[in-house]
């Protein structure tokens, strides 16, 4: 199938590359040492000055077609309570409702699967007992450079107006893997219509209009997600774009950042796959691959084009019944590409091109990092050490993208096989996972436990660099 037509966008319809924070365009893979620092604002005016000081360190995007060469990187994002503490009052267009309400509401917890062991009441941060206002992402080449970088941000300095709620050291595991042992972050949306950003070959699967991630740019529906605005009178920097009627665009070139701290039970994952395979390591690896939907090195389970970073493949024609990659496998739920199909569904979504187009309305740009040391090779008993993933998803509409994928694809009991949810990240409690097959029939795995537990989370806004200057210059 060919949907590789490049789209051209006028400058006004694209993100302003000089204004965005760098993570919109860069994963900073050359900076393996990291720390995600979650802060509470204790003094609004003081915190504004602190934001102004940190803003000068905030890293921008690399030039088109190049990788970031910054020796360190700093990114800054705020929750709704954080923006309020700094004195932000929207006028005209408000922020999106999920951001305003925050990740923790009764309904959101239901649809996100934040129940039982993942309930916000037991979170380390972001829950009712430990709310957060600010996220600082600090990245460096090694630990000592990182210490120096974080020290220089003056978080702990007297009169900074902020205090640390939680600081999570992150790392990059060898071969870009996550703790379960699988290569992560292979499938990413790439902005169509921009030089040097869309991969040469896998454009058809990955190209999305930049407005799916960056506010103010054109999205897949040829529209713009609402850009939050503030009164022009309070913009002493004149840094923000006017939007008519006395308001300026605070949100332009920003993005909503979803942060979730996901504890991974690596020993549990290994021992369950081994148990189900009668202790046979090869069969366990095969089962683990079916659960994930890729092999450990990232190889897709369906036929794919070798030249394009393990990402040039669809499901509709290659594997409509899930005989290679199960319909309920994690990557197939998280990104069903051109083949969204539940068992029993004979009529819907038969046109792969339109399915792919619909799927692209729900993509997320992921910038997560692992935390905690890897579990010893082959160990199947938990060592009691906390490890997992700090999931970072960037999107323009939290409801249509992050929450939709989480609720309607990953956690949906009607998406693939009735009664089953995502076998890898779903809140399973005695769950079921079916591997379709002809040997001679499907294999049903019962008693599926929960491998991933949410231990923290919040919705942030990642402002543009001009918007950071606006925040710093606010007065009451």
């Amino acid at each position: 199938m060919d949907v590789r037509t490049p789209i051209t966008l006028a400058a006004a319809d694209r993100p302003d590359r000089s204004g965005v924070q760098g993570m919109i365009y860069a994963g900073f893979g050359a900076l393996p040492a990291g720390r995600f620092v979650l802060l509470r604002i204790t003094d609004g005016p003081a915190a504004r000055s602190w934001v102004g000081r940190v803003a000068t360190h905030v890293t921008g995007a690399p030039d088109p077609g190049t990788r970031s060469t910054d020796p360190t990187a700093v990114q800054l994002a705020f929750t709704a309570t954080g923006l309020a503490a700094l004195g932000v009052r929207t006028e005209g267009q408000d922020f999106g409702r999920p951001f305003v309400e925050g990740m923790v509401t009764t309904h959101r917890s239901r649809i996100l699967g934040d129940v039982g062991a993942s309930a916000p009441t037991s979170w380390q941060w972001g829950g009712p007992t430990a709310p957060v206002d600010v996220l600082v992402v600090a990245l460096a080449a090694d630990d000592s450079a990182l210490d120096q970088l974080v020290e220089g941000l003056g978080i702990a300095a007297t009169g900074s107006g902020v205090e640390v709620v939680c600081a999570v050291p992150t790392r990059m595991l060898p071969d870009a893997k996550e703790h379960f042992g699988f290569k992560d972050g292979i499938s990413q949306p790439r902005f169509a219509g921009e030089e040097g950003t869309a991969g040469a070959h896998d454009t058809n699967w990955s190209a999305v209009a930049p407005g799916e991630v960056v506010l103010g740019a054109i999205d897949q529906a040829a529209q713009r997600a609402p850009v939050p605005t503030v009164s022009a009178r309070r913009d002493s920097t004149n840094a923000l774009t006017a939007s008519g009627r006395g308001v300026v665009e605070l949100g332009r070139d920003g993005s909503y950042l979803v942060l979730r701290q996901l504890h991974q039970d690596v020993a549990g994952f290994r021992s369950w796959t081994l148990d189900q395979s009668g202790g046979d390591a090869d069969r366990a690896a095969e089962l683990a691959a079916r659960v994930v939907g890729r092999r450990q090195d990232g190889t897709p389970l369906v036929a794919f084009d070798d030249g394009a970073g393990q990402n040039d493949f669809g499901f509709a024609n290659e594997d409509p019944e899930g005989l290679a990659c199960p319909l309920g496998a994690h990557v197939r739920r998280a990104n069903p590409r051109d083949g969204r199909r539940a068992i029993g569904d004979e009529t819907s979504q038969t046109d792969p091109t339109s399915t792919l187009k619909n799927t692209k309305r729900h993509r997320l740009l992921r910038r997560g990092r692992a935390y905690g040391p890897p579990l010893a090779d082959g160990a199947t008993v938990d060592d009691g050490v906390d490890r997992g993933l700090l999931f970072v998803g960037l999107n323009a509409d939290i409801e249509r993208q992050f929450e939709f994928v989480q609720h309607h694809w990953l956690n949906s009991a009607t998406f693939a096989r009735p009664g089953e949810i995502d076998p890898l990240v779903g809140p399973n409690d005695d769950g079921t996972f079916t591997v379709p097959g002809e040997d001679p029939i499907r294999t049903r795995y019962r008693g599926l436990p929960r491998f991933v537990t949410v231990v923290g989370g919040a919705y942030f806004f990642l402002p543009s660099r001009p918007a950071l200057r606006y925040l710093a210059a606010l007065t009451d």
Binding site: H107, G344, E346, G419, P436
Partner: protein, 420 residues
């Protein structure tokens, strides 16, 4: 087997509104087995809801949505027989109901207040409540048996042998043996042929009239374009408190389904009302012929949904019982079915800017979602006979059952076995 999809709309007695709210509030938490109106006791009932529409032309109205097996005439006596005391409690708050009247009179009252669907969609055509529930139990039992065979290493290798093993298992279970009898087709060949003939007649008549009365058609089209330019889209955001209230009743534990009730004032005037009736008629015709296999224009998550015109042509009512979240349902609408949707709802006040009846409209996704939320009414009572089953899952259960009878070809057996 056919379904009937309708509402009963009755005016609330002035001064009894608050009492009715309390009655519905008592039913809502356990609609299946509450002591007042145990809807689970009503035979042939798939989905039902009870909503108060506060802004009826003569004051508040009760809207009782029913999606049932068989005809309205067959169903209403069963309803009255099953839950008469509950109907007394509810309709006792409505004008003209008599708690002392006999059951025949009660049926007559309901009958007089029935509003037929202007256009409806059914996800699982031709299947009764009993059959849907039975086939779900069959699926569970067969899956469990297959797991047992595999565990005991007695699973045969050839597809035909596997099928025989399943047939033998079912035959040995008195509670499942019904499944070996071939089910009636979801839609008989004659039914489909009749419907297709009706569709051909309708569209031939519509196109014929449009051509014969070309000047009238052109004037009508021109008038529509002018009206569309003058119409004022209501692009306010939905009240966050309303949305939070609605969400409190959505995505409930143990449900894969949700419900929505939407009440929209129709744009005033003869022209819009009749245009709307024509559009609903066209959609109804298509729904009975082209969308009988689970999907409505690519959306395969709708169990029962219908539009109807109430309040003497002033109000457009939409009720839907669907799988998944509100957000995903609306996204499906916007991405897959925006043309039909816009053709209907652009006749409602405040709908996003539309041209030529079908373009733009719902494609203004976010604006449309806010409009849809603003039009929504809280549904205090919502009943589903099978809250854990999705439309596609019900189809999968039926496919399993169909494969147990008859003498299928080897390749059919192979497909059936693969989909177990």
């Amino acid at each position: 087997m056919d379904h009937s999809v309708f509402t009963i709309v009755a005016p609330v007695i002035p001064g009894r509104h608050d009492e009715l709210v309390l009655v519905l509030g008592g039913i809502g938490p356990d609609p299946s087995a509450n002591p007042t109106l145990p809807l689970g006791a009503v035979p042939g009932l798939h989905f039902a809801s009870l909503t108060i529409h506060d802004a009826g032309p003569g004051g508040p109205e009760l809207i009782f949505e029913l999606n049932v097996d068989g005809s309205v005439a067959e169903h209403l006596p069963q309803l009255v027989k099953g839950v008469r005391p509950g109907l007394d409690a509810v309709f006792g708050c409505c004008t003209g109901w008599s708690v002392t009247a006999d059951d025949a009179a009660a049926v007559g009252y309901l009958r007089r207040h029935v509003v037929d669907a202007g256009a409806f969609h059914v996800g699982n055509t031709g299947r009764s409540v009993d059959r849907i529930q039975q086939e779900a139990r069959l699926w569970q039992a067969v899956q469990g048996h297959l797991d047992d065979l595999r565990r005991d290493d007695t699973l045969p290798g050839a597809p035909s042998q596997i099928r025989q093993a399943v047939v033998d298992f079912v035959a040995a279970r008195p509670d499942l043996a019904w499944a070996l009898v071939a089910p009636a087709p979801n839609l008989t060949t004659k039914e489909l042929a009749d419907r297709k003939a009706a569709k051909a007649t309708f569209f031939a008549a519509a196109i014929g009239a449009a051509v014969v009365l070309l000047p009238v058609t052109l004037i009508g089209a021109g008038y529509l374009l002018v009206r569309e330019c003058l119409d004022k889209p209501d692009d306010r955001d939905a009240d966050p408190e309303l949305v939070a209230l609605l969400e409190a009743f959505e995505d409930l534990d143990g449900h894969v389904q949700n419900h929505l009730t939407s009440v929209i004032p129709i744009k005033p005037g003869w022209f819009r009302l009749n245009l709307l009736k024509l559009v609903l008629r066209a959609i109804e015709t298509l729904a009975r012929t082209d969308f009988t296999r689970g999907s409505l224009g690519g959306i395969s998550s709708i169990h029962f949904a219908h539009w109807s015109i109430i309040d003497d042509g002033q109000t457009l009512l939409f009720v839907s019982n669907f799988d998944g979240s509100w957000e995903s349902y609306l996204d499906d609408f916007i991405e897959l079915a925006h043309i039909g949707l816009t053709a209907v709802w652009s006749n409602g006040v405040g709908f996003p800017r539309t041209h030529f009846l079908v373009t733009e409209g719902a494609t203004h996704g976010l604006q449309f979602k806010h409009w849809a939320r603003r039009s929504q009414k809280l549904t205090p009572v919502w009943y589903s006979a099978y809250p854990t089953l999705g439309v596609t899952g019900i189809d999968a259960n039926s496919a399993l059952r169909r494969g147990l009878s008859g003498s299928p070809q080897p390749e059919e057996v192979q497909t059936w076995v693969r989909q177990l």
